[in-house]
Amino acid sequence: MSRKIDLSFQGSISRIALHRIDRARLYGSTRRIGLDGKGRECTSALLTRDGKYVMGPGSTAGMYLNKGCDVIAREDLARMDEHGQPVISNKVEPDGPHELAGPVPMEALLECAVTAVYEVDISEIDSTLAASLSRGDIYHAPNRGFLLANEYGVFLLATERVRFDFIGHDQQIVIDDDDHEYDDLGFKSM
């Protein structure tokens, strides 16, 4: 099933359907299964450490509890940063169409990592925008990602920015040593 979003470009609005593309749709996929002695397909389940309860899919629920072990509903939870200040989500979707910015340089896209790929039907795009995309221009829709075209079609790439710094000779590379595999061998008690 596809979602539809409105993109605004030079005053004209295109309503486009987004069809997500993933590796499974391009190259296929694999799934691991366990078989019992009779060759029947088994399901993965959880076993409590006391061995009393086996819980299949849907047999448990994740909940937030306060100090008194009362359940706090997700919508009532307050989000705070490390300084104890309330965090207001900036991922609020605008009510209106997404305004396309650009053309943007290729570097803007290369500074991001792609989190999702959507195919876009070019016939749903405004003709001026389609012509610009086919010339190789790239556009950016804030909160949405980048719109670009190649020989296969038009794609909307949802992205997140990845920032790296230049490295000098004196730069200290801090290695977080999290190799604690020998910590629980209990030599202290010997």
Binding site: L26, G34, C42, T60, M63, N66, A78, M80, D176
Partner: protein, 234 residues
């Protein structure tokens, strides 16, 4: 995440360098509405011996099951419902809801259309990136535009020096790539033809290295892609 890997330069000489991903910013901490602490717990709803499929096996037909549901609460285990599950182990359970001591592992392969293609014995695919498996400079250069349009770059890692010698080693790589204004394809395996598998049974990624200079500082980024930008066949 930071790990030591062996990397080859354009002349086939290798050195031990670090691969690092960007640190993720700490996410917001959740609190009660009045600012008190909360903790996440997994709560038991109903164990498998009270699940619908188990009850259907216990009662021979829908009428007897319906009658039992009206008369009592066979779907609820009063002792466990609402209990905190605590740490659990993952087990395989057969169709009779009995845990198995061991299961035969298989892998089902699906085509792009979602249809099952084959079933085969599970085989582990080892990582091919590490201190004793050099990443190879293939000598195949690609324009930035070509990479950005052909591949979905889903992951990026920074290459860092581990000592003074590898600083010069990486600085030269960055210099070459900046002069060429191109990315170089980096491969794994003996001939450098294989995609990178960063962890055991991980997704293979094609890798392209970007190099930039700023005075006497360098920036080397490994752009990793696990899919092309193209339409599915169906």
């Amino acid at each position: 995440m930071i790990r030591k890997v062996r990397l080859e330069d354009a002349r086939g000489r290798d050195g031990l360098v670090y691969l690092s991903s960007t640190p993720h910013a700490a996410g917001p901490v959740l609190h009660t509405p009045d600012g008190g602490p909360v903790h996440f717990e997994r709560i038991i709803k109903n164990p498998m011996d009270r699940s619908e499929s188990t009850l259907r096996r216990q009662y021979k037909n829908d009428d007897s099951l319906t009658h039992a549901l009206i008369e009592g609460d066979p779907e609820i285990d009063m002792e466990s419902a609402g209990r905190v599950a605590g740490p659990c182990d993952r087990v395989w359970v057969d169709p009779d809801s009995e845990p198995l001591y061991s299961a035969t592992m298989m892998e089902i392969v699906y085509g792009p259309d979602g249809a099952e293609k084959e079933r085969r014995a599970l085989r582990d695919i080892e990582a091919n990136v590490g201190e004793d498996m050099p990443l190879r400079w293939t000598g195949r250069y690609y324009k930035r535009d070509n990479i950005a349009r052909r591949f979905a770059i889903t992951r990026k890692l920074q290459i860092l020096h581990s000592d003074g010698l590898t600083f010069d080693f990486l600085l030269r790589m960055a210099e070459i790539l900046e002069k060429k204004d191109a990315f170089v394809s980096i491969g794994a395996g003996l001939k450098g033809c294989d995609p990178l598998i960063l962890e055991r049974n991980g997704t293979p990624h094609r890798a392209f290295m970007e190099g930039r200079m700023q005075g006497n500082e360098y920036l080397l980024i490994l752009h990793l892609s696990n899919m092309e930008l193209k339409r599915p066949a169906s």
